[in-house]
Amino acid sequence: MKNLVILGAGTAGTMMANHLVSKLPKKEWQISIVDQYKTHYYQPGFLFLPFDTYTEKQVKKEGKKFIPKGVKYIQKKIEKIVAEENKVKLEDESLDYDILIIATGSKIAPDETEGLLGPLWRKDIFDFYTFEGALALRNKLREWEGGKLVVHLTEMPIKCPVAPLEFTFLADSYFRKKGMREKVEITYVTPLSGAFTKPTCTKALNYLLEEKGIKIETDFAIMEVDNDKKEIVDYAEKTIPFDLLVTVPTNMGDEVIERSGLGDDLNFVPTHKHSLQSKEHENIFVIGDATDVPASKAGSVAHFQAETLTDNIILYSKGYNLKEEFDGHANCFIETGNNKALLIDFNYDNEPVHGTFPFAKIGPLKLLKESVLNHWGKLAFRWIYWNMLLKGIAIPFVSRNMSFKGKKFDIKAERQHV
């Protein structure tokens, strides 16, 4: 009997367990999945929790429900991967593997920024990338009377790079609905050169910031949070005062990657970007947020990766060459507030463009353009996540590699209003 071990039962790990259980011969392979936590969170839902759009219950379920029969589910802490010995050390036992899949994800590391975990943390400073953070922020927003709201992202790469911008748009809507928008000054702070960094998107979407009266501070590389003065300070000594700071701290891979000596300085595992094989060990594969590949850290990316990786695991197990197939495909709904959303579809080489999705000319979804239907799509996605995505069921008409049908590559983007 050979052993395939999956580390992490989040989005990517769970999908791999579901794909592989029906593809690897049961008589030859034992599949195990290891994760110390019992709860599986629908992380895209963390964006909606602070605004009371989703309830706590809608974003969490018991992880066990999604692990298929025939896969051994081990709820233990992973101490170390010993790649030279093809072994994973858990808290009280050790697993041998023939193939290892690392799907340990990424998480926020607020201690990387000086002063972020100071006296104001979870009082006037919040994150929304954790369940606890999003919930604490919800409670704060329910009673907040207004002032300077600063939405800030520390450094790239982060999970779901568009989320801070979506948060900003949703905050604008939220305060308008509460009839207190005039009491809130919203500033979006980014280390990048703009809220939008790609020319087509900048042209198509810059109106959103103007329309919503959102101030923007660019090229801001945070050095520290000054808890006494309530301001963030950057290396050029620029300061931005806040009453309420909503920040996306540095994102890092899991500590087990560091303990095992398998990561870069952000604990992401160096991975071949088209095959998803680890660069150092041929029997280790990496998927989702745990990799260092230059794709977005997002569930849709993990979903497309999982299809390629499943094929590659089967090929590898039979001694064949791997497919160099994964193209960095991402497909994301972006909330823009007022019950509208955008849809973007892109990969390593192609930026988001206008067009229709998934069918040329028909749509029904429009790319890079605000619409109510896209917003419904985003909300419907929660159901798709729990009922299809995690179970490894392909989404109809959406292929693992980016399709060029229905996309307008040659047409200059213009300011678009619905």
């Binding site: 450094e155 790239m156 280390p191 050169s193 960094t197 790609k198 290396y235 870069d264 260092d292």
Partner: protein, 102 residues
């Protein structure tokens, strides 16, 4: 889009970043730097080389990366490339500026 820099026609993005690093050379870097009001010193060249290495290896550029590069500290980085050092240094190095999804 294309642009004339140092007497050569180059493919650039709408905000003036080279789209093909193989078209880059030192004269071009000097010209782009001039437009940004920067005269390149040895220290600048060290940073530019380091940035190009990172990009060739598919490593995402960040201020943190600069801190750990051993080439320069962050204060110096801001002094050498004022007004958004990553944005400016990448333009001179002929590589894409750090981007998000949109």
């Amino acid at each position: 889009m294309d642009m004339n820099i140092a007497g050569i026609r180059l493919d650039v993005t709408e905000d003036g970043y080279l789209t093909d690093l193989s078209q880059w050379n030192k004269e071009i870097a000097v010209e782009i730097a001039k437009k940004e009001g920067i005269e390149l010193t040895d220290k600048h060249w060290e940073v530019i080389n380091w940035i190009q290495e990172q990009v060739k290896n598919d490593v995402a550029l960040s201020v943190r990366g600069i801190k750990k590069s051993g080439v320069i500290d962050i204060k110096q980085f801001y002094e050498l490339f004022p007004g958004g050092p990553l944005k400016v240094s990448t333009k001179i190095a002929g590589v894409p500026k750090p981007k998000s999804c949109i």
